[in-house]
């Protein structure tokens, strides 16, 4: 029964070790899928490469449907899954800043580290920028505190917000994903660019 750490009360170091292995697996997969290339990530914004959308959306719906099924068979306790609390203002503003950083740098934080570990210089500069941003946030927090903590809605789930059952919401999201994938493929054809990496 999951989560694993609840049933067998692992000592802390085993928890950390499991986290390390999951992290290595995640990083390796990101790198192998080509996510350490900023061109691939930026392609999402220009529409010539929508791998990012497909991978992350697929991951989300597989996890969503999988956790529902595991919970149905009594193998996973969904009540123990952490739901991120929702700060409305902070989410919107943070989302815009994150998106801007994403398109300018060509990485999201996870793929940035993935690219850093294979020695990309732009990723190193990107991560330095990220750390500077974190430093700036921490130092100026007292000034932006009201902005960051305003409009607190608590841990909220979209299905509860819509008032539909988690299962129905999963179905809707899957349908939306399939439709989006289809649109993405059309966009890829429309905005296609020659693959410059193959010339290198």
């Amino acid at each position: 029964m999951g989560p694993l750490s609840i049933i067998s009360e692992f000592p802390e170091w085993i928890n950390l070790l499991i986290a390390l292995f999951i992290g290595i697996g995640f990083g390796y997969t990101l790198e192998q899928a080509g996510f350490s290339s900023s061109r691939k990530l930026a392609g999402m914004f220009y529409g010539y490469d929508t791998t990012v959308l497909k991978v992350f959306f697929t991951a989300a719906i597989v996890a969503l449907a999988g956790s529902q099924l595991l919970s149905f068979f009594g193998l996973l306790n969904l009540k123990l899954v952490f739901v991120n609390p929702w700060y409305v203002n902070a989410s919107i503003i943070g989302g815009i800043i994150m998106g801007a950083g994403f398109i300018m740098g060509g990485y999201c934080p996870g793929t940035g580290i993935s690219a850093l570990s294979i020695g990309k210089i732009d990723a190193m500069i990107y991560m330095l920028g990220g750390m500077f941003g974190a430093f700036l946030f921490a130092e100026t927090f007292p000034f932006i505190q009201t902005l960051a903590t305003d409009n607190y809605e608590g841990p909220m789930r979209i299905d509860e917000w819509f008032g539909v059952s988690p299962g129905l919401f999963t179905l809707l999201l899957i349908l939306a994903a399939v439709a989006l994938f289809w649109i993405a493929e059309i966009a890829e054809k429309k905005f296609s660019r020659t693959d410059i990496t193959s010339d290198l």
Binding site: L69, F72, F73, G74
Partner: protein, 158 residues
């Protein structure tokens, strides 16, 4: 036809999943109700019935006397049946519960036993279950706390 052939693995996966789900749903041993429905009914005691109201009942009912095996009930009500709490979910008991028309009225000389049985049956999906309770509100505090007005935080035993 070729479409089906191409999708046969996919269809197989979905069918296996469906079979597993049907097995799970048909398991009578699994609780299927939402816990919050039990809390909503019990917290204002709307699942209790007093002896007065019980006597005025006109709809069909069956009293279930929940003794223990060593201390069976006295069968003072009619129609009634004795089911020891430990055997509440045995096959024979389930058949009786399933086939009863009208209200199931739980009675036990211990309120605790009837309360536990009520939640278990409610969560298994049985509707129209009541607890026969001699008191209107068993959760009444029969004593009044007398504060000691001379007490202060500084005193030793805090």
């Amino acid at each position: 036809m070729s479409l089906l052939k191409n999708l046969k693995i996919i269809i197989l996966v979905i069918v296996v999943l469906l079979i597993l789900i049907i097995i799970r749903i048909s398991d009578q041993n699994v609780f299927k109700e939402q816990v919050k429905t039990a809390v909503e009914v019990t917290w204002n005691n709307s699942n209790l019935i007093t002896p007065n109201k019980f006597r005025e009942l006109t709809t069909p009912y069956l009293v279930i006397e929940l003794g223990s095996e060593s201390n069976p009930g006295s069968l003072q009500f009619r129609p009634s049946i004795k089911i020891p709490f430990e055997k509440l979910l045995d096959k024979e008991s389930r058949e009786i519960l399933d086939n009863t028309k009208g209200a199931l009225i739980l009675y036990s000389d211990k309120m605790a036993t009837a309360s536990k049985a009520w939640i278990i049956l409610n969560q298994l999906g049985y509707k129209n279950i009541l607890i026969l309770s001699s008191e209107e509100n068993p959760e009444e505090l029969k004593y009044k706390f007398q504060p000691d007005t001379t007490a202060g935080l500084e005193q030793d035993s805090i």
